[in-house]
């Protein structure tokens, strides 16, 4: 008996040890003894990874885009070169640089769209070759204790703007799968501030997946650093892999016990019921910048917190309408691929080319220093090789662009929409606008649809 107990205890301890070992990074001893020297240290155990990483959206900030109208199928698009009104700049026209001194304070600062690029700026967006491989900041995504005070731009002895990195051994000894904070270090503050662009917070209070201890890369799974994404009308660049709630490894094609709810999935996206709230900025004016306490200017931005507003609903088949004044979902109720989907609507005011009506982009350096937004348009036009950039900026006209952002986070189970949230006459879905006839709307808002089910639920709850 004692022998059996001892054996069981030994087995238990052995299993514990195995678990502990599995969680440890096998390369720790090598890093401890040899120190951390950037990707070359990682490559000792992960050969070829750096080269492959250079072919991902995170490095290139662009990819071929097949679902957006009006794009050249032979070219790559993304924040490297896109012109739209959430940012109005891009990596090319608003490259990381030291901006002119503020007339008020005499101080300068570094800014640029590619601040979040995981290189050192000398090897920048889309660069390739051995130098680019050495410049990758592996730890910003993989270290649990990255020291962000190192991740600051500075000028080197040659006057070049360099992005600093934490390459300490201490930081390297905490490598692993990216945690939520690794992703959020960049994605949280995209678009000009925390919760501005995406309007969500991935916390246990705001997302059921976070509450279960899941991290971003549990859904945004990676293969060779190519990361799965959804079909957000505004998020064009992709690594070619799609996320689906209906994935067999996640919720499957029939996730509900109630077949009525499962039947809805043919015409209603999961997000419609399970993401009833959204947030973040809903309007920006790039033609009028506000002066901040530091003497620098920022685009005037109207913002909400995560969960602070409600989405709008539209049919979406995964393809995207794209024009100077509108970027949003395509689809309709007779299209078998379309489903009713929630979106956050964002509107931005910017400059448009006088004759062509095309949206113009902006270099943020001039307006950030002194509020002169047309100088920003002139600088961007010059960078893009447009003829007479001064004239382009002077004659540019102001206008608005509306963008539909995918609403794919802030997932809830307990606060999900139920029958009456849509089918009551004051429900969130505007059936008429979604293409239903008056007669159909009467049927769709008839309490017979939900009376029994809701009465039963009410009895259970009370």
């Amino acid at each position: 008996m004692i022998k059996t107990r001892l054996a069981a205890t030994a087995l238990f301890c052995a299993l514990l040890a195995t678990t502990a070992t599995a969680k440890d990074h096998p390369g720790d001893e090598s890093i401890k003894s040899g120190g951390y020297h950037g990707p070359e240290t990682c490559e000792e155990c992960h050969p070829g990874t750096a080269r492959k990483f250079l072919d991902t959206v995170h490095w290139k900030h662009a990819s071929k885009v097949t679902n957006v109208e009006g794009l050249d199928p032979g070219k790559e698009y993304g924040m490297k070169n896109r012109i739209y009104v959430m940012c109005n700049g891009n990596d090319i026209v608003n490259n990381l640089k030291e901006i002119p001194k503020s007339p008020d304070t005499g101080k300068t600062k570094f800014t640029g769209c590619n601040t979040c690029h995981p290189g050192n700026h000398l090897s920048d967006v889309g660069s390739s070759g051995p130098e680019a491989e050495k410049a990758i900041d592996c730890l910003i995504c993989h270290s649990a204790e990255y020291d962000f005070s190192s991740r600051k731009p500075f000028k080197d002895a040659k006057g070049r703007v360099v992005m600093g990195q934490d390459r300490s051994t201490k930081s390297a000894l905490t490598v692993g799968r990216p945690k939520v904070k690794n992703c959020m270090a960049c994605h949280e503050a995209a678009g000009g501030g925390v919760v501005v662009k995406r309007g969500f917070a991935f916390t246990k209070e705001t997302d059921v997946h976070a509450a279960k201890g899941m991290v971003c890369v549990d859904c945004h799974r990676a293969q060779d650093h190519k990361i799965a994404t959804g079909l957000d009308p505004n998020n064009w660049a992709n690594d070619g892999t799609l996320i689906s709630c209906a994935d067999a490894a996640c919720h499957g094609a029939k996730p509900h016990k109630d077949p009525d709810l499962n039947r809805h999935a043919a015409k209603v996206a999961c997000q419609t019921c399970h993401i009833p709230r959204t947030g973040g900025a809903f309007a920006k004016d790039f033609t009028e910048w506000e002066k901040g306490s530091d003497g620098f200017y920022e685009p005037t931005t109207l913002r909400k917190e995560a969960n602070d507003t409600t989405p709008v609903y539209a049919w979406y088949n995964g393809t995207v309408a794209n024009s100077a004044h509108f970027i949003g979902p395509k689809g309709n109720r007779s299209d078998a691929k379309s489903r009713i989907t929630p979106f956050k609507i964002f509107q931005g005011k910017a400059y448009f080319e006088e004759k062509s009506g095309e949206l113009l982009s902006m270099d943020f350096a001039p307006p950030m220093a002194n509020g002169d937004t047309r100088a920003g348009v002139e600088s961007a036009s010059r960078t893009l090789g447009m003829k007479n950039p001064a004239q382009v900026a002077q004659k540019a006209v102001t206008g608005w662009q509306t963008i539909y952002f995918g609403s794919n986070h802030l997932v809830t189970k307990t606060k999900a929409l139920f029958c009456a949230n849509c089918h009551a006459p004051n429900g969130v879905l505007r059936f008429k606008e979604l293409g239903y006839t008056d007669q159909e709307v009467v049927k769709l808002t008839n309490p017979d649809l939900y009376m029994k089910k809701l009465a039963e639920r009410q009895r259970e709850e009370w």
């Binding site: 979040c116 020291d147 501030g193 925390v194 501005v196 916390t203 901040g292």
Partner: protein, 107 residues
């Protein structure tokens, strides 16, 4: 009659004095944008105090931060002294409890 009036007045005074005690104890939400002039994380890492200099009034306000996400940003220096912060806090029992504590700067 006179006694009844006196009793009514006494009750009214008692009720008012009760409100006088209740009102200051109730929570009050305040929004501000300010620059961090001093940041101290408690030795146990479970709280921190940040002194924010209000960009409008120039007054310094001490904020108590206890949420894990923000504390983690202090620890790994995603938020440091000198950063401008958009803050919402609740005034309660003489303390300013942070509800929202976010850097204003983006990319």
């Amino acid at each position: 009659m006179k006694n009844q009036l006196t009793l009514f007045a006494a009750c009214a005074v008692l009720l008012l004095s009760l409100f006088a005690f209740v009102i200051p104890a109730s929570a009050e939400d305040v929004k501000m944008v300010g620059t961090i002039s001093k940041l101290v994380v408690a030795p146990d890492g479970k709280s921190a105090t940040a002194v924010l200099k209000d960009t409008k009034s120039g007054q310094e306000v001490t904020i108590l931060v206890t949420d894990e996400l923000t504390l983690d940003k202090f620890k790994d220096k995603r938020i440091v002294e000198g950063d401008e912060i958009r803050c919402k806090f609740e005034k309660l029992d003489g303390k300013n409890d942070s509800k929202i504590f976010k850097k204003t700067a983006g990319c």
